[in-house]
């Protein structure tokens, strides 16, 4: 029997770990074990809880790193509410991978500047860990990450231990509002990036976070001398099919699910401002 292109496979949620008050990370494996499918950093998958619905999430684990896929999911609507309510061992449906992913070939030999805000670290993390596995292929790696408060920082073990311990890799953390017990930087991500003042020389910046943050980060990077082609970001649009057919994620001549979600700033400038 022919299967519909939207037909998912059954997968098992093997592990669920709490990141913050409203973010959990789910490890999802194929029914027979192993990853449900291969992918590249920046790609996404459609997860669904039957009877509730489907939603698209970026894969936060790195390729070939584990025998499951990881998704960091923030509670925001019907599907995510339901996912937050399930237990380890539950079966869900998954299909993918979707999207173009980050242009990993273009990144080789460059210094990389990762700029993330809140849940936006999820897609970046996949690429960060991918680059750290192939550490020799890349130059310096700088990671700037911020969240509303210290309690909203996700992937803390990697932020504080794994990443800083890697060669030529530095992590800069910031929170929107300071509070007791936080002795790090206080302030918004875009300003912090400008304060830190990275050099555009042989660099590529990759940013992901709330739309408003991206907007200011883009402006800030331009001021630091980054060319639009040197800045990559991921777009968020409502998606349904993931394969360029349902029309929902259409912006200008592009379908975010197919031609994105990763775009460089030069491409974004050509799109109508509808994201």
């Amino acid at each position: 029997m022919l299967k519909h292109p939207l037909f998912p496979q059954v997968a098992v949620v093997e592990r669920i770990s709490r990141e913050t008050a409203d973010i959990k990370t789910f490890s999802v494996a194929a029914l027979k074990g192993g990853v449900p499918f291969n992918f590249m950093p920046g790609q996404c998958a459609m997860l669904s809880v039957p009877a509730v619905g489907e939603a698209l999430f970026s894969i936060t684990s790195a390729p070939a790193q584990a025998d499951f896929l990881e998704f960091s999911i923030k509670k925001t609507g019907a599907v995510t509410d339901c996912l937050h309510g399930i237990e380890e061992g539950c079966q869900i449906a998954i299909r993918g991978p979707y999207g173009n992913g980050f242009p990993v070939a273009q990144l080789k030999g460059r210094d990389l500047l990762f700029i993330g805000g809140g849940i936006g670290l999820a897609p970046l993390r996949s690429l960060i860990n991918y680059c750290l596995v192939h550490r020799g292929d890349y130059g310096n790696i700088h990671i700037v990450y911020g969240a509303r408060s210290a309690a909203d920082l996700m992937q803390r073990k990697e932020l504080y231990e794994n990443w800083p311990a890697s060669p030529a890799t530095s992590v800069y953390l910031t929170v929107d509002t300071g509070q007791e017990g936080w002795d790090g930087h206080v302030g918004f991500v875009p300003q912090y990036v400008e304060e830190l003042g990275f050099s555009p020389q042989n660099s590529i910046a990759l940013t992901c976070g709330p739309p408003i943050m991206i907007k200011y980060v883009l402006a800030g990077l331009e001021r630091l001398g980054f060319q639009p082609e040197q800045i990559h970001t991921t777009l968020e649009m409502r998606m349904k099919c993931g394969v360029g057919k349902c029309g929902r994620c259409n912006i200008g001549g592009k379908y975010v699910c197919r031609n994105g979600p990763v775009f460089n700033f030069a491409e974004l400038k050509k799109l109508p401002a509808e994201y």
Binding site: P5, P50, T80, R238, G247
Partner: protein
């Protein structure tokens, strides 16, 4: 070329319907739509466009594609059998045939929508328009009211008979099986086809020049027309549901207890929840952005992505929009020209 006497059409339909399900325009409660032929069917070939385009057959308003059972932690997914593809669409107008080829671009591109592909195995018998309506503007897109190149068989209305020409191998095979019903037309009748085609094209009084519309439409994002056009829009989506090329869909689940099914159904960019994200953000917050999206998608975005216009000029949206929002006004705004012949 062959021909069939109109008086023998019921015989033809009966014969065809025995071979495969036969869909043709039929009237029920005053509404003409494609429906499966049955004994006593009220076939309406002469009226131009059906209310719903034959899209509703190749890409039905909703269809289930998987069944699921969820027991405790366990989930079972069963694919739905793909739809039957060997049916005949009879009396499809040339614009609607072109509409199907637009849908092809979307559903047959990788990854192929196998359900659609299966339904596309149908045989399309197109009926040329002799006298296009005032709201028809297929010629604006380089289409011809008197000819549908993508059909399997082409028919022309010669008053007492239909002239019959197969255009594909599939059409040829079907034609061969109908030797008892088809006749050889006189040379004069054969020649009349050319005349019918030409008359139809000129009846489409308004002569369109679409040169550069695609390019100019691209720069129309901030055009003033959007500030006024949308205000009367009801956001009903009639224009999209009735459009032979609109293909946007949604995915939903039905469930009762442990069992359920997942379906795909038409959706419309004219609805406010179309782009509403779970976070509450909406990149197209008002009807203005939605109306703009529909027209820009047809005249600029779809051509950019697929190389052809997302409108075939069938005029359904022009006729059925409750507040007369008219795509031809947008085309004119984009630089398309009209001159009365």
């Amino acid at each position: 070329m062959q021909e069939i006497q109109k008086a023998r059409l019921p015989q033809l339909w009966e014969y065809l319907a025995k071979k495969a399900p036969l869909y043709l325009p039929q009237q029920e409660d005053g509404v003409i739509n494609f429906a499966p032929w049955q004994e006593g069917a009220r076939v309406k070939l002469e009226s131009l466009n059906t209310v719903l385009p034959p899209k509703s057959i190749v890409f039905p308003q909703w269809e289930t594609y998987l069944h699921f059972t969820q027991k405790a932690r366990e989930l079972k997914l069963t694919p739905t059998k793909e739809p039957e593809g060997s049916y005949i669409l009879f009396g499809v107008r040339p614009c609607d045939v072109a509409g199907i080829t637009v849908l092809d671009r979307v559903f047959l591109q990788d990854p192929v929508d196998v359900f659609y592909e299966s339904r596309r195995r149908c045989t399309i018998i197109s009926l040329a328009c002799n006298e296009p309506d005032i709201s028809c503007f297929c010629s604006a897109f380089g289409l011809e009211p008197g000819f549908a190149p993508a059909a399997d068989i082409m028919l022309w209305d010669g008053d007492k008979f239909l002239l019959w020409q197969s255009l594909t191998e599939k059409g040829e095979t079907l034609t061969h099986s109908l030797t008892d019903l088809l006749e050889v037309p006189t040379p004069a009748e054969t020649e009349s086809v050319q005349c019918l085609r030409e008359t139809a094209a000129t009846v489409q009084e308004q002569k369109w020049g679409l040169d550069g519309v695609k390019e100019r439409a691209k720069d129309m994002f901030n055009a003033p027309i959007w500030d006024s056009l949308y205000r009367r829009c009801l956001g009903c989506g009639i224009c999209t549901y009735l459009c032979p090329t609109c293909h946007c869909f949604d995915i939903g689940d039905f469930s009762r207890g442990e069992r359920g099914e997942r379906f795909r159904c038409w959706d419309s960019c004219m609805y406010k929840d179309f782009t509403l994200m779970a976070s509450g953000e909406n990149p197209r917050p008002t009807q203005k952005e939605r109306v703009r999206q529909r027209f820009m998608h047809k005249l600029s975005y779809f051509p950019a992505q697929h190389g052809l216009y997302g409108c075939v000029g069938c005029g359904r949206c022009v006729r059925k929009c409750p507040v007369n929002i008219d795509i031809t006004q947008v085309i004119k705004e984009a630089g398309g020209s009209i001159s009365c012949a």
